[in-house]
């Protein structure tokens, strides 16, 4: 999988390039013939950096996915979904943080915003914090995937950093328990692990199963 950035001057792209350079791969393309999928980054970093790693591991698939970082953050990005329904786009992946919402409330908010913009939800599938919607708008069917966080990370608010903390826990073991206990949320904990960031990313790069 390769990524086509729709904002070349945004920090999202800089972060993807920076991580790619650290880790010695290239997941960005400058030209795309056909667009079938959009990834919408509802919050900035480290979603973008994780995206680079995922794209690297899915390199064999060969598809190009457009990435957009709207000016809106969080749940407001769902108001923009109709704008991404162009060409042959049949899948839209939205990465958002949970913020202060309860998961059920978050899902309800998402669905209300979708319906408010003329999107009919034909089916919904939940798998933890991954929600998959089959949608329809103006005769056009598409799949919308919403992802945030992991339940096993012991914070009230969940976010994409959960996945990185899980990796950090596996890699660094008990030495980071203190970081967990002294942080309010996953974002703060991940910031405290800044010095290990490159090592964790490198491990994630080198070991797909990890």
């Amino acid at each position: 999988m390769k990524l086509y950035p729709f904002m070349t001057v945004d920090s999202v792209v800089r972060h993807i390039v920076r991580v790619s350079r650290w880790l010695g791969f290239d997941v960005l393309v400058s030209v795309v013939e056909e667009l079938r999928c959009f990834i919408v980054i509802g919050d900035g970093t480290p979603e973008d950096e994780i995206l680079a790693l995922i794209a690297y591991h899915l390199n064999g698939v060969g598809k190009v996915i457009g990435i957009a970082k709207p000016e809106f953050v969080g749940i407001k990005v769902f108001e923009l979904i109709p704008m991404y329904l162009v060409q042959k786009v049949g899948s839209i992946l939205v990465l958002i943080d949970q913020e202060d919402y309860d998961v059920e409330v978050l899902i309800k908010e998402v669905e209300e915003r979708l319906r408010g913009h003329g999107i009919a939800i034909e089916s919904r599938g939940n798998k933890g914090r991954l929600v998959v919607y089959d949608c329809e708008r103006g005769g056009r069917r598409f799949r919308l995937i919403v992802i945030n966080g992991l339940d096993e990370i012991p914070f009230e608010r969940h976010m994409v950093e959960d996945h990185l903390l899980k990796a950090a826990k596996i890699l660094l073991g008990e030495q980071i328990d203190d970081v967990f206990s002294k942080s309010r949320d996953a974002k703060e904990a991940w910031k405290k692990l800044y010095q290990y960031r490159e090592d964790i990313y490198r491990k994630l790069r080198n070991d797909k199963s990890f």
């Binding site: 086509y4 457009g66 991404y84 162009v86």
Partner: protein, 304 residues
């Protein structure tokens, strides 16, 4: 512009006088590559077609290789012609040709064009050759004073006029004349100011109906860009049709924003395997896309 491009039209200020297609050749020339086959995709195609649809009418210019020459046809129709239509074109559609691919034979002066001024920073030297050739008009019309004083608003100098004087020898060159009597060669100005002085003088001389300005943002800081936006808005108010090309989202937003109520259209262009694709947008579209994280400059997979 209710016309298809006429490659044989005379351009307004180039010195020596040229046809539009000769000017394009000059601008694209690399070393001595003077062949007109640059008009054809990959220099190998047998045909090329440019069509402009205005209302219900389609105005087309077609290029066709015939032996050792390129014929150029002009046709008006209701449907966009295809290259297959070339076989049905008649002699009266022929407006000129390029014998042996290197020379121009203008068969017929047709398709009268509005008075068009093309400018880009690459043409500054050529522009000054022309300005120098009509210097008496420049000075006596007051254009040199007006331009010098206008440009003063953009720099930390107070220019009173433009002069043409020798520089350590016989050859004369253009100078900005300052309020303390000093002179600064136009060539020693910043690239942005130099380009703007040149264009403003050319505008005063040519008074075009259409201004084509390629890479409008070239060498410009944001302060100059705002000045240019105001100048362009003034031209539009005077009835001049202004066509700008840019890679700058700042330039686009600044200039289009100032003339938003003047029927401004923004076109995203991309060349894909010899086909120039375009998409018309409003400034509002551009802003909405920006909010959604889509920069139209890289938006062709989304928009085209």
């Amino acid at each position: 512009m209710k016309r298809a491009p006429n490659p044989f039209r005379k351009v307004s200020f180039e010195f020596p006088p040229m046809n539009a297609v000769e000017l394009v050749r000059f601008m694209h020339e690399t070393l001595k590559s003077e062949d007109f086959r640059f008009l054809l995709h990959n220099y190998m195609a047998e045909n090329a077609l440019i069509s402009c649809k205005v209302g219900e009418r389609v105005y087309s210019t077609m290029f066709a290789v015939r032996g050792n020459r390129i014929n150029v046809y002009y046709v008006e129709s209701t449907l966009v012609p295809t290259l297959e239509n070339l076989s049905s074109l008649k002699i009266e559609n022929l407006i000129g040709y390029f014998p042996d691919f290197r020379r121009i034979e203008e068969y017929r002066e047709r398709m009268p064009f509005e008075n068009v001024l093309l400018f880009q920073s690459y043409l500054v030297r050529m522009g000054w050759d022309y300005i120098r050739s009509v210097w008496a008009t420049v000075v006596n019309s007051g254009a040199s004073t007006r331009v010098a004083r206008t440009v003063s608003k953009l720099v930390h100098e107070n220019y009173l006029d433009l002069t043409l004087e020798p520089f350590f020898g016989d050859e004369v060159g253009p100078y900005m004349y300052l309020d303390d009597g000093r002179r600064v060669r136009v060539g020693d100005l910043g690239d942005g100011v130099r380009g703007l002085v040149t264009l403003m003088l050319l505008y005063e001389l040519v008074k075009p109906g259409v201004l084509l300005w390629d890479d409008v943002e070239a060498h410009m800081n944001p302060r100059m860009l705002l000045f240019v936006a105001r100048w362009v808005a003034d031209l539009v108010d005077k009835g001049v049709q202004v066509v700008l090309s840019t890679h700058s989202i700042e330039a686009l937003r600044t200039i289009a924003g100032l003339v938003e109520d003047k029927d401004v259209r923004i076109y995203l262009l991309t060349l894909e395997r010899g086909v120039l694709k375009s998409k018309g947008l409003s400034l509002r579209d551009v802003e909405e896309l920006w909010k959604a994280g889509i920069d139209i400059r890289v938006g062709e997979p989304y928009l085209l």
